[in-house]
Symmetry: C2
Subunit: 670 residues, 2 copies
C-alpha cells in the first residue's frame, strides 16, 4: 500500500491532489493544475500554521485564508474537507460544479462556510486579502490591550501568475507595502504557466523585484514541489517580519505528477482524462480509488478540529478576561461582531426644510458621514485620492497609516479597483466594520469588477460616488457619467441611490448603513453642484425608492419623475404646469432598485397604470427608464457623451432646464 | 524686460507656464500645477526631439505625444499653440474649458487636431502609448525595407504619480517591457504631490525599481525644474537604447514658481487666484500680460512649423522612392492610411443554412476572424490569456513578440484593462490598423473604462467577448454575465451585437469592420455553447439591428424578440404556438443599438405599435428591455446572479427553455 512508499506528508499532499483530479474528472470541468502544483504549500500552511476552527468557521480570531487564484477551487475544497469543515463533505466534493452544490466552480463565501471571500476574477483575492489584513490591523490597534490581545491573526493568500498580471493586484500590493501590513503573507504559486501557455509569451517581468519595489519582504522557495522544510521556513520567516507584508515566491510545477500534462497549459483548466489519471496515479504511487482518502492522511489533517477547538477555547479565555477588565471596549467589540447597530444611531441624520441653505449632496454626504462616524465606530474608509472633492474625511480622526492603524481615514491613492476589493475584504472580515470607498461616479468604471463582487459576495461596502452628472462641468466627457447610473442599477443586489437634497441624502445613508449590516452593498450618487432643499422630501420616502413629492387633486394628467439633481426641476416645472391648469404629480425616485422591491399596491399608488403620460428627468442616459415612463412617456435624458463647459452651461445646453421639462411635459400631454 | 533677465529657453518654458496659469485663472477651473512643473521637460522634448508637422497634424510618420496626465491639458494646448498648430490659437486658449471650444478640460483627440488620444482617466494614456508604439513597431517590421524606412517614429508619454498608481499603467508597462518596445519613451513627472497631498500618504513605493522589474531602461533627472541639459541627455540616452522602453523619472516641483502654492496639492487642480498669480509673475520675473507670449519665445517655438514641413517633405521623398521600388507594399500601405477597405472584403464572410452543423458563435467568430485576416492585413489583436477559449488566433500567423513585431497574434496576458487601452492606441495610430481584444464577456468589467474611451474617442477597436451568458456554465456566477450586456448597450456610440448563429456572426463582423474604418468601436458577444443555424437569419438583418426572422399571416398577436443564443428558443416556441393557432412573429434582435438607429418606419414595420403583446428572451438582465416590450410585455430574463452548474442545466433552471417561452407568451396573450 501507499503508506509504505510515501511519508505521511506526501500522503496528505497527494490526497489534496487526487481529490482535485477526481472531482474535476467527475465534473468533466474544472482546474486541476493549480491544486496539484500548490498542494505542498497549501498542506504546509494548513498543517503547520493556519489557526481555524473547522467546527466554527466564523470564530472571530481565525487566520484568514484566501485562494486568490480561485479557479483552483478544488484546492480549497480539499483543504476544508480534510480539515473537517462540515460545509464540504466527500459527497459535496463529488458534486463539484453541480447545481446547488456547496462546491461551486469558484470559491463563494456565500455558499461554502470556510471560504472567506469570493474569488475567480483574478487579482481580487489578493486585494481582498489586503482589506482583511487592514481590518485586523485596525481592530487590533483599537481594541487590544497590553495584557489582552483579542485581535491577533494572519491573512494568508495564495495567488498565481494570472493574479500577478492583473493591475488590481499591483495597486493592492503597492498599498499594502505602503501600509507595512506585516501580518499579510502571500504565497505566489510561480508555475510559469497560464492559459495561453508558458508565461514567456506575455509575462517575463521580475515579480519578486517588483514586490520589493512595493516595500514587501520577499522570499523564494525554489522547489515548491518537494521542499516542505523550505516552505515551512519561509512562512515562519514571513511571520517573523512584522513591519512589512511578505511575498513568498514558491516555484512549482502546474499539474505536478501528471507525466504528460504537468507543466503545460493543458492541465490548467481541463480534466486529465482517464488514461492520464491512471498514469498520474501510477507516477505518484497512488493506489487509492477515486475520492478515497487514506485514513492516515485524513486522521492527520483532521487534527485541525482539535487544534481549532483549543485555539478558540484559549481565545475565549482571553476574551473573558478582557471583558472583565475592559467592559466598555468589550461591549463595543461584541456589538460589532453581532452585526447590530446601536440604538438610535439613525437619529443623528439631519433633515432639512426649503429654508435651509442649498448645498451639493456631496456636502450633505460629508455631514452624514461625520455624524454617523461619531456614533458608529465601525465606519472606516476614504477616497481614491479625491478626499476633498468627495468630501469623505471624518473630521478629527487621524489617517490610517503604517503604525497608525487605529485611525479611520484611509487614503487609498489613485487605486479605485484595489479600493473596491479592499473595502470588500474589510466587509468580509465579518467583524462588523462598515467600509466605504469614494471616487467620482464615472470612475466606478475602474472598479466595476469589485463593485459587482460586493453585490455577489454579500460584502456590505458603501460606495460614495460624487460628481454624478454632466453638472460636473469643465472636466468634460471623460469625467461626466452618462450611462454610469444605468450600468450600476443593472447589477443585481446593488442598491443605487441618487438623492435629491439634504433630507434624501440622510435617507440614502439610513438605507446604506442598514444594508451594510445586512451584508449588502449600496452605491450613493451625489452632486457636485448646489441643490435646493425640497418641501416634502423625506427619509421614509427614500427607503421606498420612489414616492410622491408633489401631488395634485384627483388623478394626475401627467407624472414627472425626477432623481437627484433633476428632482427640483420637476418640482418647478410642476408649479408652472399647475399654474396653467394641468394636474401634475411629481415623483421623487432616488432609487429604482428600492422602488422595484415595494409591493405592487405601493408601486401602483405612486405610478398608477392609468396615468400613461409620464416624463422622467435625469441628467444621464435614458437607458432603463422606459420601465417607468412606458410607451407613451418621454425621458429628458442625455444619450450622447457630455462636453467640457461650466456645469450649469452643460445642464442647460443638454436640456436640463425647467423650460425643457415643461416643454417635454406639454409634448407628452399632446 | 524679461528678455534681458532670462534665457530664450526660460522664456519659452515660462510662456508655457503662464499660458496655463492665465487660462486656468480665466476659466476659474483647471489644473495649473502639472503644466508649471512639467514645462521644462515638455519644452526640451518638443524643442529638441518631437518630429511633427503642425500644419499637417495627421502626417503619418510624426512622433506621437501623449499627455497621460491629461488633467494637465493646458500643457498640451500651450505646446500646440506655441508650435503653430492651427487647432489651438490664443483665442482658443482664452476659451479653455468653455462650451464648444477646441481646448476642453482634458485632451480630446476628436476635438483638437494634434491631440493623439483622449486622456484624463488616469493610466489610460501610458497604455495608449504602448499601443501606439506597438502599431509603429508592427508597421515598421512589415513595411520597412533596408533601403527605405517609411515607418520610423517615437512615442513619447508624460505621466504622473496618479497614472503610476493606477493598475492599468502597471499592466501596460509590464507588457511593454516584455515586448521590448524601444521606441516608447515615458517621462514620469515625479512631483510627489497628488490630490490628497504628498504622495507620502499613499504612494511610497520605488517606481524606478518597479519599472526595472518590468524590463524597462530607467533613468532619473534629479532637477527637472532647471537642468535642461540633463533632460535632453536623458531623452537622447533613451533613444539610444533600442531594445527596451525607457522610463525617465523627472523630479519636478508641482506649480513651480508659485511662491506659496508650489509643492502643494492646492495648485494641482485649482486656479492660483489673482494675488498668487501676481506673486508668481514677480517670482519668475514675468512681465507680460495674461495670454501675452513674448515674440522671441513664439518665434523660437514656431520653428517647429518649418522643421515639420521639412520632415514631412523628406519623408514624402522616402515614400516616393519606396513606392517606385515596392509598388505592391506601397499600395497596401496607402490603402491602410486611406481608411478604405479592399473591394469585396466582405465576400469572405460565410452564410449558413439550418442543415449546417450547429456551432458556438465563438467558433463562427474564429472562422470570420480568420477569413477576414486573410484579406485584411490590418487586422491585429488577440486575447487576454484566453486565446483558445475566445478562439481569436489567426491560424498560420506568428505571435507578436519582441523582435517579431510583424506578426498579428498578440498575447496580452491577463491584462484586460491594458488590452483595451492598447487596442485603442493602435486604432488611434490612425494608420488603418483594426485592433481587436478578447476576453470573457464578464471581464469587460475589468476594462470598461477603456471600452468607454473607445466609444468616446472614436477608436475603431473590436471587442470580441465570448462566454456571453449563464450558458457559460460551471465557472459560476463570478464568470456569468447578467447585467453586462445592458451595461454595455448603455454606452453611447458603442455598437453591441449578440448574433444568434453563424450567418448573424458574419453580419456582426461585417458591421464591426465597417465601424472600425469609420472610427467607431463594436462589441461582439458570442456563445460558449452550440447553437443551431436558423432559417431566415441574414447578414442584412444584422446590419439593421433587429429584423423579422419568422412571421405569420396578417397582424401578429404576439411578437417574440430574441437575441443570440435565445433566438432559437423563440423560433421553436413560435412553432409550438403557431401549431396551437396563434399568430406569432419572431424578431431577431442582435443589436438594439443598430435597431434604434433605423428610421421610424422600419422600426414600426418590425415592432408595430399596435402589437403590444411582446416577449423578449435573453439570458441576461431584463434591464433596458421595457423599451421594446412595452408595458404589456414580459421579459424572459435573469435578474439575479447565476450559479455554478453545467451550462445547459443553468439555462433550463433559470427558465431559458422553449417551454418557459411558450408559457410566458401564453401568459402575455392572457
Amino acid at each position: 500500500m501507499a503508506v509504505a512508499t510515501q511519508s505521511l506528508e506526501q500522503l496528505c499532499i497527494n490526497s489534496i491532489r487526487f481529490l482535485a483530479v477526481d472531482a474535476v474528472e467527475k465534473a468533466k470541468s474544472g482546474h486541476p493544475g493549480l491544486p496539484m502544483g500548490a498542494a505542498p504549500m497549501a498542506f504546509v500552511l494548513w498543517d503547520k500554521f493556519m489557526r481555524v476552527n473547522p467546527k466554527n468557521p466564523q470564530w472571530f480570531n481565525r487566520d484568514r485564508f484566501v485562494l486568490s487564484a480561485g479557479h483552483g477551487s478544488m484546492l480549497q475544497y480539499a483543504l476544508l474537507y480534510l480539515a473537517g469543515f462540515d460545509s464540504v463533505t466527500i459527497e459535496d466534493i463529488k458534486q463539484f460544479r453541480q447545481w446547488e452544490s456547496s462546491t461551486p466552480g469558484h470559491p463563494e463565501n456565500f455558499i461554502t462556510a470556510g471560504v472567506e471571500v469570493t474569488t475567480g476574477p483574478l487579482g481580487q483575492g489578493i486585494a481582498n486579502g489586503v482589506g482583511l489584513a487592514m481590518a485586523e490591523a485596525h481592530l487590533a490597534a483599537k481594541y487590544n490591550k497590553p495584557d489582552a490581545k483579542i485581535v491577533d491573526h494572519y491573512t494568508y493568500v495564495i495567488l498565481g501568475d494570472g493574479c500577478n498580471m492583473e493591475g488590481i493586484s499591483g495597486e493592492a500590493a503597492s498599498f499594502a507595502g505602503h501600509l507595512g501590513l506585516g501580518k499579510l503573507i502571500a504565497l505566489y504559486d510561480d508555475n510559469h504557466i497560464s492559459i495561453d501557455g508558458s508565461t514567456d509569451v506575455a509575462f517575463t517581468e521580475d515579480v519578486s523585484k517588483r514586490f520589493e519595489a512595493y516595500g514587501w519582504h520577499v522570499l523564494h522557495v525554489k522547489d515548491g514541489n518537494n521542499d516542505l522544510a523550505a516552505i515551512e521556513k519561509a512562512i515562519a520567516d514571513a511571520k517573523a517580519v512584522t513591519d512589512k507584508p511578505t511575498m513568498i515566491k514558491v516555484t512549482t510545477t502546474i499539474g505536478y505528477g501528471s507525466p504528460n500534462k504537468q507543466n503545460t497549459a493543458g492541465i490548467h483548466g481541463a480534466a486529465l482524462g482517464a488514461d492520464e489519471i491512471a498514469l498520474t496515479r501510477s507516477n505518484l504511487k497512488w493506489e487509492y480509488a477515486p475520492f478515497d482518502v487514506p485514513a492516515d492522511a485524513l486522521n492527520h489533517m483532521r487534527k485541525a478540529v482539535e487544534r481549532g477547538a483549543k485555539a478558540e477555547s484559549e481565545w475565549n479565555q482571553v476574551f473573558a478576561s478582557y471583558k472583565a477588565k475592559y467592559a466598555k471596549e468589550a461591549a463595543e467589540f461584541e456589538r460589532l461582531l453581532s452585526s447590530k447597530l446601536p440604538d438610535g444611531w439613525d437619529k443623528v441624520l439631519p433633515t432639512y426644510t426649503p429654508e435651509d441653505k442649498g448645498l451639493p449632496t456631496r456636502k450633505h454626504s460629508e455631514t452624514c458621514l461625520n455624524k454617523l462616524a461619531a456614533v458608529l465606530p465601525e465606519l472606516i474608509g476614504g477616497s481614491a485620492d479625491l478626499t476633498h472633492s468627495n468630501l469623505t474625511e471624518i473630521k478629527g480622526e487621524g489617517d490610517f497609516q503604517k503604525g497608525q492603524y487605529q485611525n479611520r481615514n484611509v487614503h487609498f491613492g489613485v487605486r479605485e479597483h484595489a479600493m473596491g476589493a479592499i473595502c470588500n475584504g474589510m466587509a468580509l472580515h465579518n467583524s462588523g466594520l462598515i467600509p466605504y470607498g469614494a471616487t467620482f461616479l464615472i470612475f466606478t468604471d475602474y472598479m466595476r469588477a469589485a463593485i459587482r463582487l460586493s453585490a455577489l459576495s454579500l460584502a456590505g461596502s458603501i460606495w460614495v460616488m460624487t460628481h454624478d452628472s454632466i453638472g460636473q462641468g469643465e472636466d468634460g466627457p471623460t469625467h461626466q457619467p452618462i450611462e454610469t447610473l444605468a450600468s450600476l442599477r443593472a447589477i443585481p443586489n446593488l442598491t443605487v441611490i441618487r438623492p435629491a437634497d439634504g433630507t434624501e441624502t440622510s435617507g440614502a445613508y439610513k438605507v446604506a448603513i442598514a444594508n451594510a449590516k445586512a451584508n449588502n452593498p449600496t452605491l450613493l450618487a451625489f452632486s457636485r453642484q448646489n441643490l435646493p432643499n425640497l418641501a416634502g422630501s423625506s427619509i421614509e420616502g427614500v427607503t421606498k425608492g420612489g414616492y410622491i413629492l408633489v401631488d395634485c387633486q384627483g388623478t394626475p394628467e401627467i407624472i414627472l419623475i425626477g432623481t437627484g439633481s433633476e428632482t427640483n426641476l420637476c418640482v418647478t416645472a410642476a408649479e408652472k404646469l399647475t399654474a396653467e391648469g394641468k394636474k401634475v404629480r411629481v415623483v421623487s425616485m432616488p432609487s429604482t432598485d428600492l422602488f422595484d422591491e415595494q409591493n405592487a399596491a405601493y408601486r401602483e399608488s405612486v405610478l398608477p397604470k392609468a396615468v400613461t403620460k409620464r416624463v422622467s428627468v435625469e441628467a444621464a442616459s435614458s437607458f432603463g427608464w422606459h420601465k417607468y415612463i412606458g410607451t407613451e412617456g418621454e425621458a429628458v435624458s442625455i444619450d450622447r457623451f457630455g462636453a467640457s463647459a461650466p456645469g450649469a452651461v452643460c445642464l442647460e445646453k443638454f436640456g436640463f432646464s425647467v423650460e425643457n421639462v415643461v416643454a417635454t411635459a406639454k409634448k407628452v400631454l399632446g
